[in-house]
């Protein structure tokens, strides 16, 4: 056979294993998509979303834009290997297309320098190709060197902690690292014998004597092929499966596929799309403040993928969403966590019959106000809201004045999805039957539940900060601006959960001097009391709270403001500053006409 040498066998076998395993996995996972997910894909298949997905794929999978934004060196490390190798493959394939005629086997492009000794004779651009390929190889080698430095000293890429990999992942990683130096050595050996090198391979090749090059050429190509084969064969079973899963995940997500309450085929794609880069570790409050080392998404997803026991890991998470902000793949980590908390038969229907006696109220023409369970423990918030409604001349129905039917989110977050649905049904009926068109809530937990988990068509749900901001903007209430300085704590559920960052700030700027804090908006720190975690103790919650407090007190404010009764309670213990809800800040500064 022309253009064949036995050394190509390891590469070819590896490639076959890789492609076969990928195809099997892809098809199997796709078959487990829910009917709704599949219909989403069909519905959006021919749309502008497809182009958006393509752009995002190039941006994230090749350029690693999100990683760059986090840290330049880390971005360069990931980007140089991904983009560099991708271009090497594409350029190599084009070059092989121009230089090899007939017997163009799949391995020819990969081992081109071995098979084409005098490229100038068949292709006039061969010289340019050689220089370009050498430059690309150097880019990849620089990325690999940086990865090596990172494994010894990870602060170089701005990481405090890095992933503890399994032995198999390490094996795959080392075989990846081995590929590029071997390629350089093999091509250099050939370049010292034949005129087919570029600037880099010629330079390295000049270090070989002709005898050494003749002796070493074949073994070096063999090692190159062997490391490629090993890496390819280990890819589908290691973290490197993310290379072939991240692109479909981006496409599915852009086409409107979302996680459901139960694990689906899409979850399987997401699990494998995690590259275990470990970016989620550093900012996890459980890691930063409590040194919990095994619960971060990188380990959690790995445990699920490899079917290891994981209930404890699933439960030990605040669900503050900080990791999701950092995840460069944009995985829906909270939903996957919730799926794994499934309570099975413990989650029964019909346990809330006693709520029958809570009857709807005719509130046509009024706005609805839902304080939420937690607001009952912070009466300052509900009293302030009453004052604000009165000042605006707004008639309201305080829906849960005589006891709250919980919104269901605390149960939902703990995996009791049936019980949660029952509470949602009860509240939905109460709200719909009352005839309100606007529902205002003081609790971001309820707010997220009402906006995302309920189907309240025809009812506009607002967090009280949105509502107050609207009242101030339209002049329905007038607030005097004091000279107290305020820092604002973004509650997880309101900020990262619902994307409400600006309205609370508008309200606070109207009533005082708002100061900036070091970590705010989507990077804000959890107060430690998020209902997502039932495992950590009060003392542990306190440590997380102290981190959040030190961020808030650093600019030396007179008042710390927040928009969540839970955060208010949490921050209130453990410091002497005044902690106030937005509603309380405003109510103090109201001017009655």
């Amino acid at each position: 056979m022309k253009n064949f040498s036995p050394f190509v066998i390891p590469f070819t076998v590896g490639l076959i294993i890789l492609l076969a395993a990928c195809c099997i996995k892809w098809v199997r996972w796709y078959r487990h998509f829910t009917p709704v997910q599949k219909s989403q894909i069909r519905k959006n298949l021919i749309s502008v979303n497809l182009i958006r997905a393509l752009v995002e794929s190039v941006n994230e999978c090749l350029l690693h834009h999100r990683v760059f934004r986090r840290n330049l060196m880390l971005g360069y490390m990931h980007g140089s290997i991904a983009l560099g190798w991708f271009l090497l493959i594409v350029t190599g394939a084009v070059e092989a297309g121009l230089e090899v005629h007939g017997d163009r086997h799949v391995w020819v492009a990969v081992f081109l320098r071995y098979f084409v000794h005098d490229p100038e004779a068949v292709c006039p651009y061969a010289g340019i190709f050689a220089q370009v390929m050498d430059s690309l190889l150097l880019v990849v080698l620089s990325g690999v060197s940086l990865a090596f430095v990172k494994s010894v000293y990870h602060k170089v890429v701005g990481m405090r902690k890095v992933t503890r990999h399994t032995a198999f992942d390490l094996f795959a990683k080392y075989s990846l690292w081995f590929i590029f130096p071997m390629r350089l050595a093999a091509e250099s050996a050939t370049a010292s014998l034949y005129p087919n090198g570029g600037w880099l391979t010629d330079a390295v090749g000049s270090l070989f004597s002709v005898e050494t090059a003749r002796l070493m050429e074949l073994p070096l190509w063999g090692l190159y092929s062997f490391s490629l084969g090993l890496f390819f064969a280990s890819m589908p079973f290691s973290r490197y499966m993310h290379i072939f899963t991240e692109v479909p995940v981006i496409f599915f997500r852009r086409l409107g596929v979302r996680e459901t309450d139960r694990r689906s085929g899409y979850t399987m794609y997401e699990l494998s799309a995690c590259s275990r880069c470990g970016i989620c570790i550093d900012d996890c409050p459980l890691n930063r403040d409590l040194d919990h080392k095994t619960v971060q998404p990188v380990y959690f997803l790995r445990d699920i993928r490899y079917k290891r026991p994981q209930l404890e890991t699933a439960e030990d998470c605040l669900m503050c969403g900080r990791c999701q902000v950092e995840c460069p793949v944009g995985l829906d980590l909270i939903s996957i966590r919730r799926q794994m908390r499934d309570r099975g038969t413990l989650d029964t229907a019909g346990t809330y019959d006693y709520l029958e006696k809570v009857k709807p109220f005719n509130a046509i023409g009024r706005v609805g106000y839902f304080g939420g369970c937690m607001s009952h423990l912070t009466p300052g918030i509900t009293e302030s809201m009453k004052k604000i409604f009165d000042a605006a001349g707004q008639k309201y129905w305080y829906m849960d004045e005589n006891g709250s039917v919980c919104c269901g989110r605390p149960l939902y977050q703990q995996g009791f999805s049936v019980q949660a649905a029952e509470l949602r049904r009860k509240n939905t009926r109460l709200i719909k039957d009352s005839g309100v068109k606007i529902l205002i809530t003081s609790c971001p937990i309820c707010y997220q539940s009402f906006t995302k988990e309920y189907r309240l068509e025809g009812v506009k749900v607002m967090h009280h900060s949105e509502y107050i901001a609207g009242l101030i903007a339209s002049g329905r209430i007038v607030v005097t601006r004091g000279d107290e300085s305020i820092t604002y704590h973004d509650p997880c559920e309101l900020g990262r959960g619902c994307g409400i960052y600006d309205e609370p700030r508008k309200v606070l700027e109207a009533s005082g001097r708002l100061l900036k804090t070091g970590q705010e908006r989507e990077k804000s720190l959890c107060c430690g009391h998020n209902l997502g975690n039932t495992l950590i103790s009060f003392e542990e919650q306190g440590k997380i709270r102290d981190s959040a407090l030190s961020n808030l007190t650093a600019p030396a404010p007179d008042i710390i403001a927040t928009g969540c009764p839970m955060c208010k309670k949490a921050l209130g213990t453990g410091n002497d500053l005044k902690i106030m809800d937005i509603a309380e800040v405003v109510a103090r500064r109201l001017i009655f006409s």
């Binding site: 937690m374 709250s404 269901g408 605390p410 703990q414 039932t534």
Partner: protein
């Protein structure tokens, strides 16, 4: 006189010979801190479910700690898990955690069959 508002509790004698504390023991090593409870009842006073029914979380976890499990699992399923009890507890008992654990323990722990339990080596 059920409508009167006050009633006299039925006299209850706890027979220690009949008491089964295996499931309680299973929870003691847990980090919910239920063992710190001093029965003050603040949890019940603030309870969302208690506002609408005779659900009394204090009564329920007291029964559980005593090893009287009859009806405890059904009662616990009425909890809405809102977490107010945990927030107000003066002994910082992690009640949400305890409630989930009690439910799990009652479902999965030793069967009621006394004879079978003898062979299970859990006591």
């Amino acid at each position: 006189m059920p409508e009167f508002g006050f009633s006299i509790s039925k006299g209850r004698t706890i027979d220690f010979d009949l008491l089964d504390s295996a499931r309680t023991a299973a929870l003691e090593g847990d980090d919910s801190g239920l063992i710190k409870c001093m029965d003050c009842g603040t949890c019940t006073a603030t309870c969302s479910a208690g506002a609408f029914s005779d659900f009394s979380i204090r009564k329920i976890h007291t029964m559980f700690r005593r090893g009287q499990y009859d009806g405890v699992a059904e009662a616990l399923s009425k909890c809405m898990l809102c977490g107010k009890c945990t927030l107000v507890c003066p002994r910082s008992v992690n009640l949400r955690h305890a409630i989930i654990r009690m439910r799990q323990t009652l479902r999965t722990s030793v069967p009621d069959d006394d004879d079978l339990r003898h062979y299970l080596n859990v006591l």
